[in-house]
């Protein structure tokens, strides 16, 4: 699978900095444009996403794609028993890795037991805003990482390479609190992954170099980076306008469809509401697929506007 590089990107109606995924108006069939969207086959459950904190978060970011916040209740917290059952389902299907997300996972009172349970069985990544990492928790994470047979990844989100950009999304002081969390993790001998929302129009390598320089100044040597595009979902849709009704993959010529390009061929997300096609669409119409993971192991019609962003960028929410 070859991922389309950012340098191939051009401004288009698919959104700023998002590539036109090979569509041509000449090739468009009216029937396809009106009715048909491609179906993504399901290959295998490589990645299970667990919305372990529901939509509860100590921050209320202006671009949050699931509208998480201190009073957000659309998805409930998952219990240790809930998670054990979902992980068991996933292991029976041969899952490769488990990701915990929310909301903010460290708001779940049972998160330490949940992570320990799971890490005994599979690699674990915890996505966090990095603001709830007191010394005792960092020490526990470092000890657990040292003794675990699998990788324990801590993935900390930043929304820009400077405080002003980040705090514009996340609120005053968020940058300083997250950098403090990153310093604590690194100081304890951990190697967090730092995700950055990639600004439209900036060369990806230049942006990565800029981010690395900022983190190096904070004492993080050669951090692992992950760049993510902006999705017009949740509060970001409220802020900047969501996907237009005609922004779907309906016009993608069938011959151009690569069944291995999208993450939904190899992932599912579970929340208190059931099984969803991917972590991006847990709060979107059409995103819920089934009650069980086994039932969700079927093709998915790529009818959502966000599918266009995934297709155009070739992105995955997973670590690689």
């Amino acid at each position: 699978m070859k991922r389309q590089s950012r340098s191939e990107a051009s401004a288009s109606r698919f959104g700023p900095g998002v590539t036109n995924p090979g569509l041509s108006t000449e090739e468009r069939s009216p029937a396809e444009a009106r009715d048909g969207v491609p179906e993504q086959p399901f290959h295998h459950l490589d990645v299970l996403w667990v919305q372990v904190a529901g939509t509860l978060c100590n921050l209320a970011c202006t671009h949050c794609f699931v509208r998480s916040g201190p009073r957000a209740t659309s998805h409930s917290m998952m219990t240790r028993v809930d998670v054990r059952a979902r992980v068991a389902e996933a292991l029976a299907l041969g899952v490769k890795e488990i990701y915990f997300t929310g909301g903010e996972p460290f708001l779940n009172d049972e998160i330490e037991a949940i992570v320990e349970d799971t890490l005994a069985l599979a690699p674990v990544t915890v996505l966090t805003n990095g603001t709830l990492l007191p010394p005792k928790r960092v020490a526990w994470l470092a000890a657990l990482s040292r003794r675990a047979r699998y990788a324990l990844e801590l993935r900390v989100s930043l929304d820009g390479a400077d405080a002003a950009t980040h705090d514009r999304f996340r609120g005053p002081g968020a940058w300083l609190r997250t950098l403090s969390g990153l310093r604590s993790l690194a100081g304890a001998g951990l190697a967090p992954i730092v995700t950055f929302t990639q600004p439209a129009g900036e060369d990806a390598r230049a942006f990565a170099e800029r981010c690395t320089a900022v983190l190096a100044a904070e004492g993080l040597r050669a951090p692992r980076l992950k760049l993510l595009p902006m999705f017009r979902l949740g509060r970001e849709a409220d802020r900047s306008g969501g996907y237009a009704a005609e922004e779907t993959l309906a016009q993608l010529p069938r011959a151009a469809f690569d069944p291995h390009r999208l993450q939904c061929g190899s992932c599912r997300a579970v929340s208190s509401r059931g099984v969803h096609v991917c972590p991006l669409l847990v709060d979107e119409p059409g995103g819920r697929m089934a009650d069980t993971l086994a039932e969700s192991a079927r093709p998915y019609a790529l009818a959502h506007g966000a599918c266009v962003t995934c297709w155009a960028t070739g992105m995955t929410c997973a670590n690689e």
Partner: protein
């Protein structure tokens, strides 16, 4: 490709598997000499013959002259078919940048005859050793450029790979780091690492895997270090104008590129190995 390798007179078949040559012809030759000196029954190469190091034709010539059976890596597929990039699957744009420098150099340095040879390499090989089915591949049985890291593969996933691809033992490379995992039912997944690049642990030597298959089905896996003249390779890389970042890795044993996909477990283990044997 299917092939049967007989056990030797001791009743155990011993197989060497060399991954990730990356144009390190000095380490490749040293490793094959070591295999011969140890009296192993066969040596296989799991591909990615070019990239990173100097003069890839030298490594191709060694493999062909010594008739080393070779599985195609993504690099070999790309060079063999004249594609635009190596399709290594790096997720960090800086890694992709350095990968492209290595790829462009390799593409310029490989002639038509070698391209045809690379393009014709098989994507996998199946051997029967000690009554066990051994599947040799580059990335994974399902994808030539899949990274199978020790830290990010559950037992459940590796067992699923063995079940789905009907193998008792899967041997792969592509990540550049070696590891071996026994699984229930006496099965194994082994990443043989890279013979062409050190294992990101501050030591300049490289590695290959040795697998022993007893007649009763028992399997033993060991990793053998390859000590070679890394300074000579570094000087040759400098003469070829390859990036100083690559040369630094050869001299120090620490990766300077291709780190963007590496899990925390491997990153931290490398640092912990400083000063080890």
């Amino acid at each position: 490709m299917r092939e049967r390798v007989s056990a030797n007179g001791r009743g155990t078949a011993r197989l060497a598997v060399l991954g990730g040559v990356y144009a390190n012809h000095l380490a490749l030759a040293q490793a094959l000499d070591d295999v011969a000196a140890r009296g192993l029954d066969a040596a296989w190469c799991l591909g990615d013959i070019g990239g990173f190091g100097p003069a890839p034709e030298k490594s191709i010539a060694i493999l062909r002259a010594r008739a080393v059976p070779t599985v195609q890596g993504n690099y070999d597929h790309s060079i063999g078919h004249g594609l635009d990039d190596c399709a290594c699957g790096y997720c960090d744009p800086r890694d992709a940048h350095f990968a492209q420098l290595a790829y462009d150099y390799t593409a310029r340095s490989v002639g038509d005859a070698s391209r045809a040879w690379l393009a014709a390499l098989p994507r996998e090989a199946r051997l029967t050793l000690g009554g066990r089915t051994v599947l040799l591949c580059h990335g994974s049985p399902r994808r030539q450029n899949e990274f199978l890291w020790d830290g990010s593969c559950s037992d459940a996933f590796l067992a699923w790979l063995c079940d789905t691809y009907a193998a008792d033992v899967i041997v792969c490379t592509h990540t550049g780091l070696h590891w071996a995992r026994p699984l229930p039912g006496g099965r194994w997944v082994v990443n043989c690492g890279a013979v062409g690049r050190p294992a990101h642990d501050g030591r300049p030597h490289t590695w290959y895997a040795e697998l022993a298959f007893a007649r009763d089905g028992a399997i033993d896996v060991a990793f053998r270090p390859v000590h070679y003249d890394h300074e000579a390779l570094a000087l040759e890389m400098e003469r070829e104008g390859l990036p100083p970042e690559f040369v630094e890795t050869i001299r120090t044993g620490w990766w300077t590129t291709c780190l963007g996909n590496m899990p925390a477990k491997e990153r931290l283990a490398g640092a912990a190995n400083i000063g080890a044997a």
